[in-house]
Symmetry: C2
Subunit: 188 residues, 2 copies
């Protein structure tokens, strides 16, 4: 049964490797190829993480997204902040537009120039960027504390993001999560 | 004042570029170099996101972390699942061990073989992986739904992660967040 619970305790000392879990761990994966799997092949994997990373998993892409959430919109400023080649910035912005994460909006007529704004889909990446920021705040802030603070307009407080369960509202940690194959997981 | 509010509305139509916000957007950034900024330089930026991405921003690293949270521990299985060269897997595992995200634990004596387990620091990456998974579930699941479901042991329900404010407990969206420079942000 595909929907069988995959592992009763992913982090237990005695990890039970059950059939479906074994399937999730061992495959299906792309047919063995020569040359080996490329980045682009990830979008074909039966995994929402790999599909998402096929779009946003690139290092510079994530840095561009960081800047988008700080309000950066124009090519020159992205390029200046990243300090990488125009080619890299052009390529990553194009990928994000094609993926529907950013949209190009003209801001000038003669000549026509565009800026890049987050779409609704792009705004859905906010939890990803915030989760990365919080991990960095915990482990890489110096003695002075985080370089960037974030205030929640709703309550007016500086905050950090907490991940909670959509069903019960309680905080969720890794040890409290059981993964199992869903209906979208390919049959063996 | 460094702690001045940076932008009253990052997503408003009329974005107010204030002095500190301008500083966050425009710099400080690494001195202009030839050749341009390398990935490794990111850890020197005054930004928790870039510091975190200097460790986890690599595509294959994030895929390895995905697998760690599914209980994968051994080199051969990481390599089989990723379908990439042993060199890439070796390199990424080494980076994660050096960063304190994974630890090597011997599981066999003759010859000595090691497996890779998440440390407490590594477990702190769970919200990142879950946020990426949820974005993928929203935007890249097929008609059948997500390929992988996750159950919260605390309440027994299949769930998705919701990001809430640490202070008031309410869900936080991108439009409700104001970023501003903190004490760890370099003086102009």
């Amino acid at each position: 049964m595909l929907a069988a619970i995959v592992a009763s305790s992913v982090f237990g000392d005695q990890v039970r490797i059950e059939s479906v879990r074994s399937q999730m761990q061992n495959g299906p994966h792309p047919k063995r190829r020569e040359p080996p799997m490329k980045w682009e092949d990830l979008s074909a994997q039966p995994c929402s993480i790999s599909r998402a990373l096929a779009v946003i998993g690139d290092r510079w892409t994530l840095m561009i997204l960081r800047d988008c959430f700080l309000g950066v919109r124009r090519f020159e400023l992205f390029q200046k902040r990243l300090g990488v080649s125009r080619t890299i910035v052009t390529d990553r912005l194009r990928t994000l537009v094609e993926a529907g994460v950013l949209r190009r909006v003209p801001y000038q007529d003669h000549p026509v120039r565009h800026e890049y704004r987050l779409t609704e889909k792009g705004l859905d990446l906010h939890p990803v960027v915030m989760a990365i920021a919080h991990f960095g705040d915990i482990h890489y802030a110096g003695a002075e504390g985080p370089p960037v603070l974030r205030r929640h307009k709703g309550c007016g407080c500086d905050f950090h993001p907490v991940q909670v369960c959509s069903e019960c509202g309680e905080p969720v940690s890794a040890r409290q999560v059981e993964a199992r194959a869903g209906a979208g997981f390919p049959a063996p």
